[in-house]
């Protein structure tokens, strides 16, 4: 059982604050680190992996400091985002080299390659591998010493759906075995499918924490904004504002549209078409005006 603890950690690069006073605990099982690009996910993972010193605060594994502690790598396996990985070696040579650096040998390398189902291509040069194959060999190199902690930076980037499913399956298995698996992603669906626990990071701050239902709820129970065009905007506005699911409507003359703020997402989506039908109004455009992940995240941060 291994638990990573990030305690009041900040990290800045010059004047830029990449991570701002974050405290979180990563326990055994699969945890997703969710956040938009540039939110500080990689910085956090690099600190957990001992490649970056926190400017402030501590990062520990079961009470032991990670930074400048080469011994910690007996317990941690790292799957970096970057592609550089000794392309001139074959997959097997690469994993064997990683095993040897742990003081292990061919047997452990073979076991790791079997775990990621890469035996069929293990004697091909890495330079000939597809993105998914590279990712799996990286996984094998991280698993070769049977670590209790596995850190993966954006592991699904650039993978096709089948490769993605295979890797999810593998990570789920690792989590079920009691390992502490942490992966970062900027895609909510990815994290939802895999992680039993989610940590949300936005603009260097810890925005939310919990299981996916809690995170989902935080994201749906918030004011939603819609841009609506119809053949009778004023009549529609009058009918909608009478319902408590709508908290505000602006008639945007320049756009020739209504800007509607809904507080009860479920009720509003059912209300709008019914009101339109009852009043004989034709809806021309209905589009969420702030559905981008960024706006969802910025809402979470403000909450």
């Amino acid at each position: 059982m291994s638990t990573l603890r990030i305690d009041h950690v900040s990290r800045w690069f010059g004047n830029v604050v990449a991570v701002n006073d974050i405290t979180m605990t990563i326990a055994p099982g699969v945890t997703g680190l969710l956040g938009p690009n540039g939110a500080g996910k990689s910085t956090l993972i690099n600190m957990m992996g001992g490649f970056l010193a926190p400017s402030n605060g501590t990062v520990t594994l079961d009470g032991t400091t990670i930074w400048r502690n080469a011994g910690i790598y007996r317990h941690i396996g790292i799957v970096p985002e970057r592609e550089g990985m000794y392309d001139f070696l074959t997959g097997r040579e690469f994993v064997v080299a990683n095993a040897e650096l742990h003081g292990l040998g061919r047997a452990e390398a073979a076991r790791a390659l079997a775990t990621v189902e890469m035996e069929y291509a293990q004697d091909r040069k890495i330079s000939t591998y597809s993105k998914g194959m590279r990712q799996r060999v990286k996984m094998a190199s991280a698993l070769v010493h049977d670590p209790s902690v596995l850190l993966l930076d954006e592991p699904f980037n650039g993978m096709d759906p089948r490769q993605r499913m295979q890797l999810m399956e593998l990570l789920r298995r690792m989590g079920d075995q009691g390992r502490t698996v942490l992966f970062s992603s900027h895609i909510l669906e990815e994290v939802e499918q895999l992680a039993s626990h989610i940590e949300v990071v936005v603009a260097g701050r810890h925005a939310a924490s919990g299981d996916f239902r809690k995170i989902r709820r935080l994201m749906t129970d918030r004011p939603h904004r819609y841009l609506v065009r119809s053949d009778n905007d004023r009549a529609l506005a009058g009918a909608l504002i009478a319902d408590p699911s709508t908290s505000g409507i602006e008639v945007d003359l320049a756009e020739g549209a209504l800007r509607i703020q809904a507080v009860d997402f479920g009720r509003f989506t059912e209300l709008l078409p019914r009101v339109a039908r009852d009043h004989g109004i034709r809806l021309l455009t209905v589009s969420p005006s702030d559905e981008s992940l960024e706006s969802v995240f910025s809402y979470l941060v403000a909450a």
């Binding site: 326990a27 502690n69 910690i72 941690i76 970096p80 592609e83 990683n98 650096l101």
Partner: protein
Amino acid sequence: MSTTTPTAPPAPAGAPKVSLFHPTVARLTYRALLGRRRALILFALPALLVIIALAVRMIAGADDSTAGGILGGFALGTMVPLIGVIAGTGAIGPEIDDGSVVYLLAKPVPRPTIILTKLLVAIGVTVAFSAVPVLLAGFLLNGNSQQIAVGYAVAAAVASVAYSALFLLFGTITRHAVVFGLVYALVWEALVGTLVPGAKTLSIQQWALAVGQKAAAEGAIISDVQLPLAIGLLVALTVAATWYAGRRLKALTLAGEE
């Protein structure tokens, strides 16, 4: 899994012992060095030297001053530092550049061990591709008369050590290590070092020649630096560069591309 109270430290995570050499790091390093296109220069330059030596011997016959000119000018002045640049920077620079160094660093292997191993590989490659061909070319040119072949080969070997340490350090400092290495080797050593008298004291080539001078017959090889000073500077540079490269690697941070 609902563990939120693990307080026990991880199973024995004692600091790994520093050793001089790790065979796996060495294997990865020399395969990377000899597997790149740049490695062609490693083969081409010594081949060129041997061909020149052979041609000169056949056309002009054995002559000590011609031999000294070729070995001192082309071999020590240009070839050895170039090979040092390729081997020294190539032993670590590309790995830091493409991020693959992570696979070495995320291991219970002390970082000084990684640097020392890489230094040894760089020295080995530089000696093999510079000192050995210099010796061969020397014998071809004048049959080692006045110990000229041995003297220059010793100088090349000594220079290989210092160049490797210096350029390995460059590789940990900047991604433009090759450019800096070339500027040092070609502009400083070859140009400034031969034209400006004071600069000669700060030239690896001159220090190495001081050692070679001792190995050759009296007056066959000339250096502008006294032997004790030369040895002192060679050792100081090699130790300091290696120490600092180790420090650079210890604090190497791999910030994401955020």
